[in-house]
Amino acid sequence: MRDLHLYFGLFISPFVLVFAISVFFLVHNWLPKALPNPAGERSISDLPLPANLDQLSGRERMDALRPALDWAHVHGEVGWIQHLVKENRLIVTASGCTCCSSSGSSPSQVCC
């Protein structure tokens, strides 16, 4: 039992170090590379967005957006989706990438 405790502790110790070190970045907002990088922006047109996207919500909207995100090579975990009705714009945050895409009947476009 003592050996199991020792070896399990050794195995998870790198994870504990990663979590502990990440505290400093999260608590003090130290991550210069997380700032928007204009040079890294790209625009993509003609995204395959469904016509009724503005009527969907929750999981249905997420599922409807997934082909467009895959098409734009935007991978990762989708965090939240914000729909700006007046601007006819959807803001989708995927892990490590924020994308905005227009929706509705206008030509679809995404920028990351």
Binding site: D3, L6, Y7, G9, L10, F11, I12, S13, P14, F15, V16, L17, V18, F19, A20, I21, V23, F24, L26, V27, H28, N29, L31, A34, H75, G76, T98
Partner: protein, 192 residues
């Protein structure tokens, strides 16, 4: 022992954050929400932070200020103040001398969950900085816990190294740990 309750708190709230579908820890659906309109005196000219603090004092609110909208009209002032368990949405019409105050009260599950992420700063918004003393105290506490954990891990490496019979298997297990954590930190970039 100093770290024990903090580690339990962060481990437990980490589980709650990872599993938002756990119904026993539900807090948002059972929130209490009230809204009322109050008379205010327009704060003296100054920065947004000074004006927000003035309004909070008039309304009897304490907490960390969140800037939720960009101020386009000098007569309208909207912001959020929060502390674990309570969220206040303030919409002030300085020209009319009125403020709409929406108050949201959360249960104990809401309090412990918010403590996990209560830093007063946001990665994607440089405007939000810590402006409440207790948020700073909590942030320093989290730093102290992180430093304590790092020291604990390093000292455990030393204690393990002092056991010659367990070095070989220990190295294997530790390398596996570093490889698997490295996979999440760096390796996943190769896949995506």
């Amino acid at each position: 022992m100093y770290l024990l309750f903090f580690v339990w708190l962060f481990a437990f709230t980490g589980l709650l954050l990872n599993h938002s579908q756990w119904r026993f820890a539900e807090f948002w659906d059972s929130r209490r929400q009230t809204s009322d309109e109050r008379d205010i005196l327009a704060p003296p000219p100054g920065g947004d932070l000074a004006q927000a603090r003035d309004l909070m004092q008039q309304l009897g609110i304490r907490g960390e200020i969140d800037w939720t909208t960009t101020r386009n009209d000098a007569a309208l002032f909207e912001f959020r103040a929060s502390r674990p368990g309570h969220i206040f949405e303030i919409k002030a019409d300085l020209a009319r001398g009125k403020a709409t105050l929406q108050r949201i009260d959360l249960n104990a599950w809401g309090v412990v969950r918010i403590l996990h992420t209560f830093t007063g700063v946001r990665m994607d918004d440089a405007r939000n900085r810590r402006d409440w003393m207790l948020t700073s105290v909590w942030a320093w506490t989290m730093d102290a816990v992180a430093v304590g954990l790092i020291l604990m891990v390093l000292s455990s490496f030393y204690m393990w190294y002092e056991l010659p019979r367990k070095r070989r298997l220990g190295i294997v297990v530790m390398v596996l740990g570093f490889l698997s954590s490295g996979l999440f930190c760096f390796g996943l970039r190769c896949f995506y």
